[in-house]
Amino acid sequence: MQTIEKPSLLKLEGVKKYFPIKGGLLQRVQGNVKAVENVSLEVFEGESVGVVGESGCGKSTLGRTILGLEEITDGKVYFQSQDTQALSSKERKAIKKDMQMIFQDPYASLNPRQKIGNALEEAFVIHTNLSKEDRKQRVVELLQEVGLKEEHYDRYPHEFSGGQRQRIGIARAIALNPSLIICDEAVSALDVSVQAQVLKLMKGLKDKYQLTYLFISHDLGVVRYFCDRVLVMYLGNTVELASSEKLYENPLHPYTKALLSSIPRPKMGGKGERIRLKGEIPNPANPPSGCPFHTRCPIATDLCKQSKPEWKEAEANHFVACHYVGKELN
């Protein structure tokens, strides 16, 4: 992909996020839920990177950690080559302007008693010195940009449908011309016909404003449509990273293979060979030894139980964590 030569916008180095489990009489820390375990990723300007995985794989926590909504346990997050943790609060505020998030449920992230116009205006009040008239002008432009109308300015969140609310969420995210937008299951709650509209809107905005997206989703179909590269996570660990084309055509990790073959295809005769995974996702508070996937992996051996596979570049720009990549098994 050509995107590789572009400058790096976001760089993660060994990011970890543990949530302590407290218990007992003195509320001592008894263990950790290892939500994100050692994630390294580089996101380049102008690309869309998808983060996929099943529930509990740490994809949402990763997004929140990048934005600073969760305190990082270990590792480094570089944004525009600056270490985000080493910044003063003033510098941090400046950076926040450039990173925005679109949440799954826009209704939960809007104040029900605040008019949409005022909710959108807030960003300009905090980050710019625009006059009142100019702010209103910008908000109206934003509303039109996302396919809403000027008269929606004075309405309350409950007066909108789910799709319209998500458009408001998008308007709020693009208000300050950010460079990075993190979408956490941004279209998952929408009906398919509306989902398609919102996806098209987001794709259009990407081209218009040279946005970079980190697109967190469990829907592999949507991710293929939307993203240039895809990161697959399992139980807090990165499992595979490749361009969409490579990942979907030639998945290397057994988990990615199983995930892709589990998705029901909406057409006739699309049922190729199935890989059925047995069992369930283990508890992240008590992850299995060795490779986190060995309990469900169809090709797991003793080696997988004992040692954790390294994150290595199996093919050009195709990273995978599995002991048996490229080795024939019988």
Partner: protein, 336 residues
């Protein structure tokens, strides 16, 4: 042996609300054979869940089925039965799997208690026998350590396990009709695949009819024999699964198929359906889809379309079929 299991005629379900009468289901008819899987698809608010609740007789207290409707299960009209009779049929002849097993299972009762209940009520088994049968059922739905699970509470199980328990309870009395309302929507894809396989196996073993309510066209292609597409309380298209996917006729069905990204084809272009779903109480003249339909004509705005039959297993409610009938040999002429 009679093949037909269920026959629904002109089902209309209304709700009395503070804003007046609300029609959620506006006269739909369909049949179901024994051992057949019918999928009802549509987006939220199209009336698919209300249809399944109407069949079960589980409508909220302000909802009612209008008098001209009939729901015929093996010769008994369920819509006319008194509550007591319906209660003895529900759980025995028809049972239901809900979307969210955590809300459908009682959190303060053990799995064992909830599994024994229908067996003791409907089959009059003694507690010990029901317990043994419960363990057998849990084994059948693929739950490891069934003896241990019988003593556990719903919160101790994972989402996939809970859904398996729901299925075990629903199947405990070997119903003839199973209604599944979005049974896999809350589950992860690898677990969803397991549950769909399980349901298919059990359907074949028990020979029951299945009505599956879903919005996921992928799930439909996987398990349906026949498909019914609903929009805003009406049936817009019905046909065998092959015909619906390879030759969809109604603009809404096509829109639905084109708004899901194709995972195997990167060059696939999404075609969104413009606008949004109408409210239930919105009065729309003519065809209820016309405000969002790219092919709508003046006729669509004025008159509700009649049902056209493509072939015996494929019916569609759309005026566009009129043009098709003129060039009956040349179906490609429909604008696409």
């Amino acid at each position: 042996m009679e093949k037909k299991l269920l026959s629904v005629k002109d089902l209309r379900t209304n709700f009395r609300t503070a804003d007046g009468e609300l029609s959620a289901v506006r006269g739909i008819s369909f049949d179901l054979d024994k051992g057949e899987t019918l999928c009802i698809v549509g987006e939220s608010g199209c009336g698919k869940s209300i249809t399944s609740l109407s069949l079960m007789g589980l409508l909220p207290s302000n909802g009612y089925i209008s008098k001209e409707s009939s729901i015929n299960l093996n010769g008994t009209d369920l819509s006319k039965l008194p509550k007591e009779r319906l209660r003895s049929i529900r759980g025995r002849d028809i049972s239901m799997i809900f979307q969210e097993p955590m809300t459908a299972l009682n959190p303060v009762l053990t799995i064992g208690y909830q599994l024994r209940e229908p067996l003791m009520l409907h089959q009059h088994l003694l507690k010990q026998k029901a317990h043994a049968k419960g363990i057998e059922l849990l084994t059948q739905v693929g739950i490891p350590y069934p003896e241990k699970r019988m003593k556990q509470y719903p919160h101790e199980l994972s989402g996939g396990m809970r859904q398996r328990v729901m299925i075990a309870i629903a199947l405990s009395c070997r119903p003839q009709l199973l209604i599944a309302d979005e049974p896999t929507t809350a589950l992860d894809v690898t677990i969803q695949a397991q549950i769909l396989d399980l349901m298919d196996d059990l359907k074949n073993q028990l020979g029951m009819g299945v009505i599956m309510v879903t919005h996921d066209m992928g799930v439909v292609a996987e398990i349906a024999d026949r498909v019914m597409v609903m929009y805003a309380g009406e049936k817009v298209e019905e046909g065998d699964v092959e015909s619906i996917f390879t030759n969809p006729q109604h603009p809404y069905t096509r829109g639905l198929l084109n708004s899901v990204p194709d995972i195997d084809d990167p060059s696939f272009e999404l075609e969104a359906i413009p606008g949004s779903l109408p409210n239930l109480n919105e009065e729309i003249s003519g065809c209820r889809f016309h405000p969002r339909c790219p092919f709508a004509t003046d006729r669509c705005k004025a008159d509700s379309p009649k049902e056209y039959e493509l072939h015996s297993a494929h019916r569609v409610k759309c005026w566009l079929q009129e043009e098709v009938e003129i060039h009956a040999d040349d179906r490609e002429t429909i604008p696409s």
